[in-house]
């Protein structure tokens, strides 16, 4: 209502001091004070003393902390950016300090799974939608916060840090959240778009990671741009097909967070998911690859989860299922490609009707 009031000077919270978390904290710090939560005391110390984290030089407005309660008390707006596998446990810890006036905008492109007792993602055969949740759904389940949004789009942390022009999407059913997100993030090198299709945008962010791995594999095989063009366009079709079945809206996949992000990650050697595919094609095993990385490649998880969802809902998703065989069974990249090239379905576009 009023343009200037107390909370304009209140800090904004970021949870997770990984690559993307640090980049977002820096973007926010241009407008506001930022409280940055990290689990690791060493990281906190390092940021406080050297203002350096994972290759980002941290803005002076950022204060690192290990106190979630303090963060929730001080900040009305919080950006949780932690890997999907830790997201729910983080929310459980944060939830007791949250109130309905809080606004949460997450930046995690992954899925959460709830498995029956004694099962692991490896042993479970199929997954249905009640077992697979997007991060906004986890927030809603674990806390009283309803005004939830997500950040998605082509946001490679290193490029953001270098202040290359880029854009992001804030998706939320609440216009209020979108407006706020724009206000907090926008600057002369960073454009922010709004989208009301929260679930669709989240799913787009997850599914594109799968295609990114496949794209890395093509590059690793030394194939050129024809192959990539083919992959990306078929990838979009697959993303929409699967995404709609999981509750997303087609429109969400055609914007900055869908095609925009897909093209970026599929072409970028900076992307961790791309790296996974690239190294696979070069003959490394998944285990070796994962050990060589300092942060989680969400796409690997996504392949596993989405493959098991497509089995449950009997969806056709050739790229995902073939990639699954390469990652977790003993199909080679070469065999996978020759299988896909012989795949019988060849209608170009079937999602616009």
């Amino acid at each position: 209502m009023t343009s200037k009031n107390l909370s304009d000077t209140r800090p904004v919270g970021v949870i997770g001091a990984g690559n993307f978390g640090s980049a977002v904290a820096n973007l926010l710090a241009r407008h506001r004070n930022v409280l940055l939560y990290a689990r690791d005391e060493k990281v906190i110390k390092r940021i406080a003393q050297t203002r350096e984290n994972r290759g980002h030089s941290m803005h002076k407005n950022i204060t690192p902390t290990s106190d979630l309660q303090l963060l929730a008390r001080e900040c009305e707006v919080i950006f949780p950016i932690v890997p999907s596998s830790h997201f729910r446990s983080m929310m459980k810890k944060l939830s007791p300090y949250l109130h309905p006036y809080h606004i949460l905008i997450h930046g995690t492109k992954g899925l959460d799974i709830t498995l029956p007792k004694g099962q692991t993602i490896e042993t479970v055969n199929k997954l249905n939608r009640s077992q697979v949740k997007t991060m906004s759904e986890v927030i809603r389940e674990e806390s009283v916060v309803v005004r939830v949004g997500c950040l998605a789009g082509p946001n490679l942390s290193k490029e953001l840090a270098a202040r290359h022009p880029a854009a992001t999407v804030i998706a939320s059913p609440f216009n209020e959240v979108i407006t706020l997100g724009k206000k907090l993030l926008r600057n002369d090198r960073f454009q922010v778009y709004g989208n009301n299709e929260l679930i669709g945008v989240e799913l787009a962010g997850v599914l594109k990671n799968i295609i990114a791995i496949a794209s890395g594999a093509l590059s690793g095989m030394g194939y050129g741009e024809n192959a990539r063009g083919l992959l990306i366009s078929r990838g979009v079709v697959e993303m929409i097909h699967v995404g709609r079945a999981l509750g997303g809206n087609t429109k969400a996949f055609l914007g900055v967070a869908g095609i925009g992000d897909l093209v970026t990650t599929s072409n970028s050697t900076l992307s961790r998911n791309f790296q996974v595919g690239y190294k696979l094609a070069q003959g490394m095993t998944l285990k070796e690859i994962l050990e060589s990385m300092d942060e989680i490649a969400e796409g690997v998880n996504a392949v596993q989860i989405v493959k098991k969802c497509t089995d449950y809902y009997k969806l056709r998703a050739p790229i995902t299922t073939t990639l699954y065989k390469v990652l977790f069974e003993d199909l080679t990249v070469k065999q996978a490609i020759s299988y896909l090239m012989r795949y019988p379905l060849n209608v170009d576009i079937d999602f616009l009707d």
Binding site: M1, T2, N5, L6, S7, D8, E76, S95, P96, H99, P100, Y101, I103, E141, E142, S143, V144, V146, R147, P173, F174, N175, E176, L180
Partner: protein
Amino acid sequence: MPVEVLEKKNKNKQYKPILEGIPDWPVYRLSRNRKEFIEEVAQKSAERIKQLRPTRKQLIDELEATVYREQQRMKRNRWRVDPPDEGKFWSKIKQDLIDLSGKPLDDHNRKEEEILNVIVHRYASEIAGNFKPSSYRFAREMIKFWFSRLLNASRVKKFGGFFRNQYTLRDKIQIVGKVKQLRSLARKGTIVMVPTHFSNLDSILIGWIIHALGLPAFIYGAGLNLFNMKIFAYFMNSLGAYKVDRRKKNLPYLETLKMYSGIAIQRGAHSLFFPGGTRSRSGMIEKMLKLGLLSTTVEAQRNIYLNTPPGEKPQKIFVVPVTLNYHFVLEAPELIDDYLSIKGQDRYLPEQDPHGSWGLVKFMIKFFTKGSNISVSIGRGLDVLGNYVDDEGNSLDVHGRVINTEDYFISNGQLTVDAQRENEYTRMLSQRIVTEYHRINRIFASHLVAFVAFEMWQKKHPKLDLFGLLRLPEEELALDYAEFRKTCKRIRKKIYQLKKEDKANHATHLKGKIDLVIKHGLENVGIFHLKRPLLYNKEGNIITQDLNLLYYYHNRMVGYDLEKFI
């Protein structure tokens, strides 16, 4: 004849009224200040409409559209309750608008606003209920007297049974669920009760239930079509009903209606409306709720927070979902016909009530003389965001921590008005109510057998779509009893499982020997229809006389994802 089996001894007891004298009832206070209340509704509705149509041109267009639609309605679909002077009224409005259009747009001194005021004022008076304590008491006693006479006449098999009081309505209608909490919340705040809607009988039934629970009369939104029937009109008026005319879809009417409901809630009048809008045509539990009236609860709560002076405790609104569970719905044949003709994209059949007052009386007699219990499940109270509340009215989060509902309306540390946000909240609330419906719905034996039989036939004809299936000749259909029994048992087990997971509820009669449960189900499903949806044949196998009706009763259990276990 139906057997009264397996139902746990009904522990329904008499509840004392929570407010002794009628003069304390909010609904009475509303009606005593009826005139002033209508003024307020009209004035605020006009303001709202002007906000929605900010330019003069937009407002005039809206008014012209309203007149056009009203005149069309009068031409096509007139009802007995419609006031005789409405033709004249709308011609006058039309003339005023024509006069207006003749003049240039700036020198007519806001005449269009005057016209708007006249219209909304008329609408507000049309909608307003007319609660009178004397006729409330009379109606209440009437209902009680005749219901129990009928009941005893049929049950007490002795000479003079008619005048005995051995059975009361309470034995016929079971009330289960969070009764104590509801009574407690009604003292602490304002109740908005939102029942499922399957039958025209619901309106009267729920009125009786509110009384039986010792609660003061609620104001209700009742379909104007019900007022066509004199017997209904009398009871509804006296029970505090206001009128909802679903033929009128124009903006001034809808805004006035919402304003009426909203202001009444803000003034603390316990309210009731059927959020599904009309009766469920398909027989399914409502999945999509009408958001219009529901949004008034969210808005009213926000206004209460805005207008409560600092230091005072703001009045809280509690949303209470209720399901009404029947073995039999009088109008089922018409409802399912409507549903199928809409779904089959045939021409639309306008709503008709072939059962006049007499039909209803006949039904009542049948209902009381021949078994077939009704049960009413009262759900746990919710705040306007769909959080559970405790008996004290505190909102709880999923972990049981007390939270402040006011916080949902706060941004930047201030209470703000944000229509888009509230629309979203209303949508969330409606989803929550639907979940609660499924959770508290009591599955009857009759629902089980109807569901299993229909799904088995569907499975036996995998290539037929719904309409193909419904076209099958009934006389050629029969289910082997042994197979039917096995499937019923399997599905019943799944229902137990759902109950354990707190996703559904079932009547106590669903337990026990499966043969008896099936028998109970078959004897009760759609019991008074000319053609029975399900019965035994001579060989003891299962047959149907009316697939459409079977489909209707089967639909009650759609939404639990049980189809795949057939």
